[in-house]
Each structure stands twice: as structure tokens, then as C-alpha cells.
């Protein structure tokens, strides 16, 4: 278990380029199992968790709902981010478990600092949650914040076969489609392209 490497799995503060996104690895065999598990978890509407404790699940659910709230459009909860995260941490990302436990501890520590006496992140008000998150984001490298944000974004925008991005709510939000075949023109400017005038 290499915490430094794990912590880099997701970017705390954005700003790096693509290399930092290409990190860990797994065997292709495990991929098939991961897909199968994801699909069964979704199909079964699993309420229990494989890796997360009930408290961690509640905290992460609240955190991810602040990252991508359900407002005029569906947010993290509608995309099944919580079950996606639980299943990848129990399977293909199992080597990230220790880092995730550290991350939850960091979250709890910040809750205790910001709202003394509070039971958990999930138990405080939305305004207090935002205050906690801003404090975590302000830390150098913002690793704990980055991991929680990273799993949220991954669960929201991933291939639905992995169990997140339920009903493609993430892809629909941004206007992405994964079709195998496209033909030009692809966008407005190539549709109106006149080489002579360019």
C-alpha cells in the first residue's frame, strides 16, 4: 500500500495535465469481475455496503451531493455514485482502501474542527458542510478533498457498466454520447466550414 501514490489517484486541486490521471493499474481479468459486480449491485438495488461502513456511506453520500447536487438536473445521488464507489473500493480499487479510510478520518477531523461536538459530516447542516469542504479544499494539495471529489466525478461520469452514471445522467448533463459511429460534420463550425474563407 503506497499512500503517496494512492493520494495522487485523484487530483485535489485541478490544474495538472493528463499524466496524473494515468496512475494505478489492474489485471484485465479483474475487469470482467468488476463489471459483473457493478451490474449485479445496481440490479439488486443494494442497500448494504461491501467496503463502506454505514457512517462512511452516509458521509460520502452527503459529500458527493454537495459536489454534484441535484438541482434543476440530477446530481450524484441520482447517478448511484455511492454504490459505484463502494463497489470499486471493494474490488478493482481495493488497494485504495487504506487511503480511503485515512480520507474519512481527515473528513471527520475537519468536521470536529469546524463544528465542535458534531457527530458526523452527514449530521451537520448544508451550510456547515460547505464550510467543512472549503476548509478541506484550502489545505495544501487538498488530497482528502480530491479523493472524495474524484470518486464522485468518476461515479457520475463513468461508463454505466461500472454501476455509476445511472441512466447516463452524467453524460446527459454535459451532452456526451458514446456512439460507435459518427459522420462529419461533427459540430457547428465544421458544418459551416468554407476553406476558401478560412
Amino acid at each position: 500500500m503506497d499512500t503517496d501514490q494512492t493520494r495522487r489517484m485523484f487530483l485535489g486541486k485541478a490544474g495538472a495535465s493528463l499524466g496524473l490521471l494515468c496512475l494505478s493499474s489492474l489485471t484485465p481479468d479483474l475487469l470482467a469481475k468488476a463489471h459483473a459486480y457493478a451490474q449485479s449491485a445496481v440490479a439488486g438495488g443494494a442497500k448494504s455496503y461491501r467496503f463502506l461502513t454505514a457512517q462512511e456511506a452516509a458521509d460520502f453520500d452527503a459529500f458527493s451531493a454537495q459536489i454534484l447536487p441535484t438541482d434543476e438536473t440530477p446530481g450524484a445521488r441520482a447517478a448511484n455514485v455511492i454504490h459505484f464507489t463502494d463497489f470499486v473500493l471493494s474490488t478493482i480499487d481495493s488497494d485504495q482502501q487504506a487511503a480511503m479510510k485515512d480520507t474519512f478520518k481527515d473528513l471527520q477531523d475537519q468536521v470536529a474542527k469546524t463544528v465542535p461536538g458534531a457527530k458526523s459530516f452527514a449530521a451537520i447542516t448544508s451550510e456547515q458542510q460547505i464550510e467543512v469542504m472549503k476548509a478541506m479544499e484550502a489545505v495544501q494539495d487538498a488530497e482528502a478533498f480530491g479523493i472524495l471529489r474524484g470518486y464522485t466525478l468518476t461515479g457520475f461520469f463513468c461508463d454505466p457498466a461500472l454501476g455509476g452514471n445511472k441512466n447516463q445522467v452524467g453524460w446527459k448533463l454535459i451532452g456526451f454520447q458514446d456512439d460507435f459511429l459518427y459522420k462529419p460534420p461533427f459540430g457547428y463550425y465544421d458544418a459551416h466550414y468554407d476553406e476558401g474563407k478560412a
Binding site: S17, S24, D29, C158, A198
Partner: protein, 554 residues
């Protein structure tokens, strides 16, 4: 998706083959095809799996975060430090293709020739104090026939003569350029307004059916993904099956080489490798060719110590692993009024080479190209694709994702890296890989001129976005490199055995039947797109090695 081995000729371990090639990637695939077609028996040892088009998916998380097509940090950790004085820290520092077909399976497919200046720049502009900036022992004219061969044998789409800066060529591209995307149109309009000369990007992706392969379907998953159509012209759908068809080439995937063996006369006798089950084997050969990439090739030489070569095989110069060059990249984004839908089709359709050589009056050395493109997929776009000054979570962030995704494009600058002796691949003192071998230690700090070049490209990119009418634009700050994709220069080519590792014919100066041919042979970095030069060198090396073998001079 475990990878299967298609039917092919098999050699017994007791057989001595003509060539053992280590690495089935950009250069190894070419060498395997050329030498086996030339009548030689060839075994290729590849550390990664043998995947096929059926194994490839559009799954961003698995392909990017779980490195399906690239090196596996969990099994092959790296350490990184900026200078030799620092203590190296364990963390991912390199990304390279690790499968049959190599890096070109997952690359963006930018396919640029070097220009004439790249080979003779030190003598034209003068050496640079504190660097290993030097001329190549070969010229563009030496390599030109092999650039042409690479373009025609692999399948490259482009428009000859479209750039006034292009070097001379003996033949046009075999295929017309890929259809222009909105990013290409906007880049072209902005660049032309400023008096620049954008042109259709040469891409190793086939725009029409070619040699029995289907053309690109514009699915949008190139960079970081394997092509399900087989339209990306990596060695996987081209060189590899043609090598197998010779009946004289065996590709052995999942074969992790740990040492090159030498006999009492100082000649290489073969390669010792771990097979998939972890069993150690020796593949004997009359000659050994390392085509393992600019990091694995020097590492393997450093691992192959002996009484004769206490500092690593073929390392009498002491330069094995040194002069590592990554190329630097600049990145700027722009938002436009109408949808571009850049997630469709290939990444890049227009580039420019107006700053291939930046005017020395700016006070630094450097140069490069700029392209207009898209760079992300949904997860990575959400992670880092928006302007950094805006919110990165919450309702406003969600609205920004919604607004920017289909209407954004990016300009990337691809630039020079000066060769510095301290920048290197070496063996780590403490960290080991999953096979118990010393991990790779990467030492890297950009030369100040490299960063100035990068900033120069970024400034020009922002001006082009303005000229193209961007409603919003944002620059990603230029930072020192802390990881590399382009692994160049670590066993540099030269005529003098004291200042280089291989000859102009890729033969090591120290071991007559040991050849190195990949990014490690580079003397200078070029301008950020090294694959075509790696492959042209491999075609040229194949000719020379075959001629030597036929004359019994190996």
C-alpha cells in the same frame, strides 16, 4: 480480456534464433516484421499482454486510471527526484505502452516527421553550455526514405505540401487528411488571422480503407484507448500480423526480460526472461535487439551487469540512461458560442509549425508545434477541463460543465527538451518491482529554456484563441515536468564511443551483436511527436542489421 496468442510459428527454447527482439512496440514491431520477412528467425519478448481489437473498450476509468494498456505502477513502481542530490520518492513518473503493439496502440496518433534542422541543430545554432545538445550522426536525408516507408507501410493520413515549413518528401501521404473538426476550423481561422500557416494534421489513422483495414469510424476514443476498428495504424493491426505471416516470427507476450546474457568473448547470447507463470527462461539468439522504449532499454542494460561491464552492459561511455528527454507541453482552453462536439472523432485535425524554430532574439533556445484539439473524456473533463478560476464543485460547477463540454476546445504546444546529463533513468537503491528487480528511478528537471519555450507556445495559443473569437479562454500554468510519456535519448546515437552508446546503425559500441533501437537512440528531442521518427529509425535499422547479418558481420 486476458489476451490470447494467435496461431504463429513457435520456436523451442533449445533453438538458437537469429534475433531476439525485446519489446513488440513502435520499433520492435517494425524490426520483427522487417527481419522476419527478410528470412531471419525472430523471437519477440514482450512484457505486456497480446490484446486484440475485441479487447478494447470506451471505459474511461479502466483505460486511464487502471492503465489497461500501459505500465502497471503496482507491479512496476518508479521513483522520482528532480536532481541527483534529492532523495527519490516512490510515485508514478512514466507512462508507456505495455502490450503487443506498444505505445502506438493508445497514442493520439499525431505522426510528424522531424525536420532537417532537428538533426543538425547544434552545428547550425551552436552548442548550449551545460547541456548535451549535439548533432545526430545521421541527417534528415538519410532518414527520408524510411519516413516514407513508415507512412506507406503503416497507413498515414495527411496532405503533402500543405505546410510551408515541411521538409522535402519523396512521396505524398498514402491517404487524404481526416475530415476537419470544429476545433480544426477555429484553430485554422485564428491562426490565419495572425498570419500563421495551419495545415491538416498528419495522423496515423486511416481516413479510408487501406490494406484490408476499415477506416476510422470517428467514435472519439483515440488518446488513451485501443482502436476497436483497427483504424489507428499502430503495429498491432499492421506490423505484427505481417511478421507472423512470414512464418519465421514468434511473438511471446507476458515475457519480462531481466538480463541480457554475454559469453566469455563479450558477445550477447540471448535474453533471460520470466514467463507468465514466473518461470525463468533463456531465449538464445545470434543477436539481441533492445526495442523496449527509452526507459526499459537503459534499465535492462543497467540490470545486465557483468565482470566485463560492471556499470551495466554496453555502458563504457557511462551514458546509458542519461540525457533523458520528455518533451514539454503547453495547454490552453477556449469556449465558443456554438457547439463543437469535440468528443466526436479524432483528437487533432489542424496543426501549425510556424514556431518550429523560435527566433533566438527571444533569448532562449527552443521550438515546437501547436495543435487545435479536444483532450478529455467525461471524467477527466469534469476533473480538470474547466477554467480553474471558476468553482470546481456545487451547482455553479455543474452548470459550467453543462455549458463548456460541447463548446470547448484546447490548444496544445509540443516542444523541445534539451538533453541534460543529470536527467536520467537509473536503478533505484531500495524499491523493487514485483519480480524482485530494482525499480526504475527517474531524475528529471527541465532546462529553463524548455520552460520558456513552453510559456512562449502558451502565449501564442492564447492569442490564437482570441483571434478565433473565443468567448472565454484559460491557460494551464507552465510547470516543471514530474512525469513523462515521451522517453527519449537515454542511449544516444553517435560516432564517438566515448560520447554515445550506439552507432548510427544502432549497434552498441561495446557489444558487436547487441543493437538498441527505440526512443533511447535520439540525440535531440524533436518537437514533441517522436513516434514517426522512432519507426523510421526502426525501418532503417532493419535494413542495416539485415545487410550486416547477410554478410556475416554480426
Amino acid at each position: 480480456m486476458s489476451g490470447v496468442t494467435p496461431p504463429q510459428h513457435h520456436y523451442k527454447l533449445t533453438e538458437v534464433v537469429d534475433f531476439v527482439i525485446i519489446g513488440a512496440g513502435a520499433s520492435g514491431g517494425v524490426l520483427a516484421r522487417e527481419l522476419s520477412r527478410n528470412g531471419f528467425s525472430v523471437v519477440v519478448l514482450e512484457q505486456g499482454p497480446w490484446l486484440t481489437t475485441k479487447d478494447f473498450t470506451h471505459d474511461e476509468y479502466m483505460n486511464w486510471n487502471h492503465a489497461l494498456l500501459t505500465n502497471d505502477f503496482r507491479k512496476q513502481p518508479t521513483t522520482f527526484r528532480k536532481t541527483p542530490k534529492d532523495k527519490a520518492k516512490k510515485r508514478p513518473a512514466l507512462v508507456y505502452g505495455r502490450m503487443v503493439g506498444g505505445g502506438p496502440v493508445h497514442f493520439t496518433a499525431n505522426y510528424w516527421r522531424f525536420h532537417e534542422i532537428d538533426f543538425i541543430e547544434a552545428s547550425k545554432k551552436g552548442t548550449i553550455a551545460g547541456t548535451g545538445f549535439a548533432d545526430w550522426p545521421i541527417t534528415y536525408a538519410d532518414l527520408e526514405p524510411y519516413y516514407t516507408k513508415a507512412e506507406w507501410d503503416l497507413g498515414v493520413s495527411g496532405q503533402a505540401g500543405a505546410s510551408p515549413f515541411d521538409p522535402p518528401r519523396s512521396k505524398p501521404y498514402p491517404l487524404p487528411p481526416m475530415p476537419i473538426k470544429s476545433s480544426g476550423v477555429l484553430f485554422e481561422q485564428g491562426a490565419r488571422k495572425l498570419g500563421y500557416h495551419p495545415f491538416p494534421a498528419p495522423m496515423a489513422i486511416i481516413s479510408q480503407s487501406y490494406q484490408g483495414r476499415m477506416p476510422c469510424a470517428h467514435c472519439g476514443f483515440c488518446m488513451g484507448f485501443g482502436c476497436e476498428m483497427g483504424a489507428k495504424s499502430s503495429p498491432l493491426p499492421t506490423m505484427i500480423p505481417q511478421a507472423i505471416a512470414s512464418g519465421r516470427c514468434e511473438i511471446r507476450p507476458n515475457s519480462y526480460v531481466r538480463k541480457i546474457e554475454l559469453d566469455a568473448h563479450g558477445r550477447a547470447t540471448g535474453a533471460i526472461y520470466f514467463d507468465k507463470s514466473g518461470k525463468e527462461n533463456l531465449q538464445r539468439a545470434r543477436a539481441v535487439i533492445l526495442a523496449a522504449n527509452g526507459s526499459e532499454t537503459p534499465r535492462l542494460l543497467l540490470l545486465s551487469k557483468s565482470n566485463r561491464f560492471p556499470d551495466g552492459l554496453a555502458n563504457s561511455s557511462g551514458l546509458v540512461g542519461k540525457y533523458l528527454m520528455f518533451n514539454t507541453d503547453s495547454l490552453a482552453g477556449g469556449l465558443f458560442e456554438h457547439p463543437l462536439n469535440e468528443y466526436k472523432s479524432i483528437e487533432v485535425t489542424r496543426i501549425m509549425h510556424d514556431f518550429y524554430e523560435i527566433d533566438p532574439k527571444h533569448g532562449f533556445y527552443g521550438g515546437g508545434g501547436i495543435d487545435g484539439r479536444f483532450l478529455w473524456y467525461p471524467i477527466s473533463f469534469a476533473s480538470v477541463g474547466l477554467p480553474q478560476r471558476g468553482p470546481q464543485w456545487g451547482s455553479e460547477y455543474k452548470k459550467a460543465l453543462q455549458k463548456y463540454f460541447t463548446r470547448s476546445m484546447y490548444l496544445t504546444g509540443h516542444t523541445t527538451s534539451l538533453p541534460l546529463e543529470d536527467n536520467s533513468i537509473s536503478l533505484d537503491d531500495t524499491v523493487k518491482d514485483a519480480w524482485g528487480l530494482p525499480a526504475m528511478r527517474v531524475t528529471y528537471k527541465d532546462h529553463p529554456d524548455d520552460l520558456k519555450t513552453c510559456q512562449f507556445m502558451l502565449d501564442r495559443s492564447m492569442e490564437i484563441l482570441d483571434a478565433a473569437g473565443a468567448q472565454d479562454k484559460w491557460a494551464y500554468p507552465v510547470e516543471e515536468s514530474t512525469y513523462g510519456f515521451h522517453l527519449l535519448g537515454t542511449c544516444r546515437m553517435g560516432n564517438d564511443p566515448k560520447t554515445s552508446v550506439v552507432s548510427s546503425g544502432h549497434r552498441t559500441h561495446d557489444v558487436p551483436n547487441l543493437f538498441l533501437c527505440d526512443g533511447s537512440s535520439f540525440v535531440t528531442s524533436g518537437r514533441g511527436q517522436p513516434t514517426e521518427t522512432i519507426q523510421a529509425l526502426a525501418f532503417r535499422a532493419s535494413d542495416r542489421i539485415a545487410a550486416l547479418a547477410k554478410q556475416n558481420q554480426i
